[in-house]
């Protein structure tokens, strides 16, 4: 015993023995998408061997058939040792499929699962992980949780088996920031709203009297004042309808109807630029159209998995983002338009050509929405 013990010690080579192999890690991915919680748990086949003795024929090799034979035992084990709970209650794990994942240190059994947490938007998540610690105290469960744009990682260990996630954490400031960005992105990446804005302000540098003819305005401040009236009316309107829709005071019609209506507003604005039907008080029209656009924005917030009264910050943030984007577009466009207003270039290409193009696009979108077809590339 003495000699053997000495050998045991000497062979250690204190320097860096632990680098020899990878220690035992499992990889848990959890995805929260609005109201559903799903994920995947990858456990090393080596660990499965320790748990269940997968290598039934003792040939030192693990085959797919041998893994499949343990599917039920593995699933039950995971259901026993991984407990998930949201603010709505406990989530039972529903296995979907068993596959194999290849990592740099070998093959893992991948249990792909859904959960019974599907009723309401998920606000908090508690996870309790107790796989393998009783057999290998150095085991770690590496968690990667995705919730909208956030990716949160943590490591479960024998001494740290629980994890708590709060969707609303991070404070109001961070939430606000997120939604300001969403609002900005919605305008810039959403062709439709940008187009509407441009269609609305293209003619700002002109005025029409009875003759429907376009006369360039003399002073920049007239231009700004006109624009300000229209845009403010538009903004006030979409803020109003956004709030009313979000808090379900207004129940919007089907998404396609709303989208078609938004397209119609663009079409009408473009036509008005060409035909000059509405000459003064364009702000009234801006207001009316704003109401429609606001309903459209509300569906974006709904798509992002939010509804109800927890929305105060997101709502304000989103709206601020939208306003900032609008201001940016106007600030970029208006001075240039003012300088070019007397030129045939502006009149011809921008006002006429631009309005015709946006009108045509809007018509196309309307047809797509109404007919539920898709033929435009964007």
């Amino acid at each position: 015993m003495r000699r053997k013990a000495v050998l045991l010690v000497l062979g250690l080579g204190v320097a860096e023995p632990a680098l020899a192999h990878r220690p035992s890690d499992a990889f848990l991915t959890l995805d929260i998408e609005g109201t559903t919680l799903s994920g995947e748990l990858d456990v090393a086949l080596k660990d499965l061997e320790v748990l269940f003795g997968v290598d039934q024929n003792g040939d030192g090799q693990i085959s797919w058939g041998e893994v499949q034979a343990q599917e039920q035992a593995f699933t039950t084990y995971v259901q026993d040792r991984l407990k998930l709970q949201t603010d709505s209650g406990p989530c039972a794990l529903l296995p979907l499929d068993l596959q194999i994942s290849k990592y740099s240190d070998g093959a893992y059994a991948a249990l792909i699962f859904n959960t019974t947490c599907t009723d309401r938007p998920i606000k908090t998540l508690d996870a309790d992980y107790s796989l393998l610690f009783d057999l290998d105290r150095q085991h770690r469960g590496l968690l990667r949780l995705t919730y909208r744009e956030q990716i949160i990682t943590t490591a479960f260990a024998d001494a740290a088996r629980t994890f708590h996630f709060d969707a609303m954490a991070g404070g109001v400031a961070r939430q606000m920031q997120t939604f300001v960005k969403e609002g900005l992105h919605h305008i810039f990446a959403g062709f439709d709203h940008m187009l509407f804005l441009i269609a609305l302000i293209l003619p700002a540098v002109y005025f029409r009297r009875r003759s429907r003819e376009l006369h360039p305005r003399e002073h920049l401040r007239e231009v700004l004042w006109d624009t300000a009236k229209v845009v403010t009316a538009f903004t006030a309107a979409h803020t109003l309808s956004l709030c009313l829709t979000t808090f379900q005071v207004i129940i919007p019609p089907a998404a396609r109807v709303v989208e078609a209506a938004v397209a119609l507003t663009i079409l009408l604005a473009s036509l008005n630029n060409l035909a000059g039907v509405v000459k003064e008080h364009r702000w009234v029209v801006g207001f009316g159209f704003g109401l429609i656009h606001g309903v459209g924005y509300a569906s974006v917030l709904r798509d992002l998995g939010l509804s109800g009264w927890s929305l105060a910050t997101p709502l304000v943030g989103f709206n601020v983002g939208v306003e900032l984007a609008q201001l940016a577009i106007i600030a970029a466009f208006l001075p240039v338009a003012f300088l070019l207003r007397r030129t045939k270039f502006y009149k011809g290409i921008f006002l006429w050509g631009g309005s015709m193009a946006t009108g045509a696009l809007a018509l196309g979108w309307m047809v797509e929405q109404i007919g539920n077809v898709k033929f435009l590339p964007f």
Partner: protein
């Protein structure tokens, strides 16, 4: 008019990023082989009806042979009833000290070893482990004292231990160091047959001493002699690879490491050799190694700072990161190689080292 969803990479709250699987798929055939297990890899669940101390002993033996952290983790789990016990039985305390040492919890391990030696002053294995920990943490005079107190008729063991401590402390001139080495090797030749169990270790230790003294040729010879007796000793293989790299013979590292890529330490030497020799898969090896370090980082717990520092210094040429890792390494390990690492990193990152 699709509303495009935002993909803000707002990766907040995250610790390190968790490594991703290369691929997830459903195998087509039941007889597709997915994994090959090393021999004696684990105790089958059916055989686990052993008393926990027996199971721990079995797993520790396996761990010593392969260096597999799973074996140590399983031993630790088996010893759970005693893990926080301040006064466990001696045999269990010795096992606990071994596991703590493996996890680089040196202070806790020493505490246990001192207790073992208080109850059993002649426990050679405890003396050796204590000496080794003291050497790793640069307490050389204390290490030497422990070596010389090794009792029992083990002159070779005593001498090798003491010589190693002296060499690490870099005591004596180059000539004196060479003389010590000669004496050790001669003694090994004479007494090797009597203390056969430790001869491979003595030869490897002599190799280390030669390597430290700058005599790489001698070191190579000694390492190879050791490998003839124990061909699978990971520490010796790693040390030989280092000597070959120092002598600028990277191609000779390949046969030592190509089939042993499971071991991170050897993969590092392989990646380094591949880079120096301009092998086609050098980049791929480097990135696999990077994944391993990322995974270790994601787990939390002990990290292999020395290896990681060398990786950043020599494989990916990130001197800044290497410097930070070298510093962290030096907080727990202070062997000459750790000092050398610190200096090399400082030079490459143009950092000034103060008061080292």
């Amino acid at each position: 008019m699709d509303r495009k969803r935002l993909c803000l990479a707002l990766a907040v709250f995250g610790a390190a990023s968790v490594p991703a699987a290369a691929e997830t798929y459903k195998p087509a055939r039941a007889d597709e082989i997915l994994e090959v297990l090393p021999r004696g890899f684990s105790v089958p669940p059916g055989d686990r009806q052993l008393p926990p101390e027996k199971l721990a002993e079995l797993r520790l033996q396996q761990g010593k042979k392969t260096g597999d952290p799973r074996a140590y983790g399983e031993a630790e789990a088996a010893l759970r009833p005693w893990w926080d016990d301040p006064k466990p039985p001696v045999a269990i305390r010795m096992m606990r000290a071994t596991i703590l040492q493996f996890n680089h919890q040196f202070a806790a391990s020493l505490k246990d070893l001192d207790q073992v030696l208080a109850e059993a002053p002649d426990a050679t294995d405890a003396q050796i482990m204590k000496a080794m920990i003291l050497m790793t943490t640069a307490r050389y005079p204390a290490a030497q004292a422990v070596c010389e107190s090794i009792t029992g008729r083990r002159p070779l063991l005593r001498m090798a231990c003491a010589a190693n401590a002296k060499s690490l402390a870099q005591i004596g001139t180059a000539d004196e160091q060479h003389r010590d080495l000669e004496r050790l090797v001669t003694l090994a030749d004479f007494l090797g047959s009597q203390e056969k169990d430790i001869l491979p270790w003595v030869l490897t230790t002599a190799g280390d001493i030669a390597h430290r003294a700058g005599d790489n040729d001698r070191a190579e010879g000694l390492y190879r002699r050791s490998l003839q007796l124990e061909p699978e000793d990971l520490y010796t293989i790693t040390s030989l690879a280092d000597a070959l790299l120092d002598m600028d013979r990277p191609a000779e590292v390949f046969p030592l490491t190509d089939d042993r890529r499971d071991q991170d330490g050897l993969l590092l030497r392989l990646a380094l050799a591949a880079k120096r020799a301009g092998r086609a898969d050098a980049q791929e090896l480097a990135s696999v190694l990077g994944d391993r370090f990322a995974a270790a980082k994601a787990r939390g717990g002990a990290r292999h700072w020395r290896e990681e520092a060398y990786y950043h210094l020599l494989v990916v040429d990130d001197a800044e990161e290497a410097m930070a890792l070298a510093r962290t390494n030096y907080e727990t390990q202070k062997e000459p190689i750790d000092r050398r690492l610190l200096t090399e990193a400082a030079v490459k990152s143009r950092t000034k080292l103060e008061g080292m």
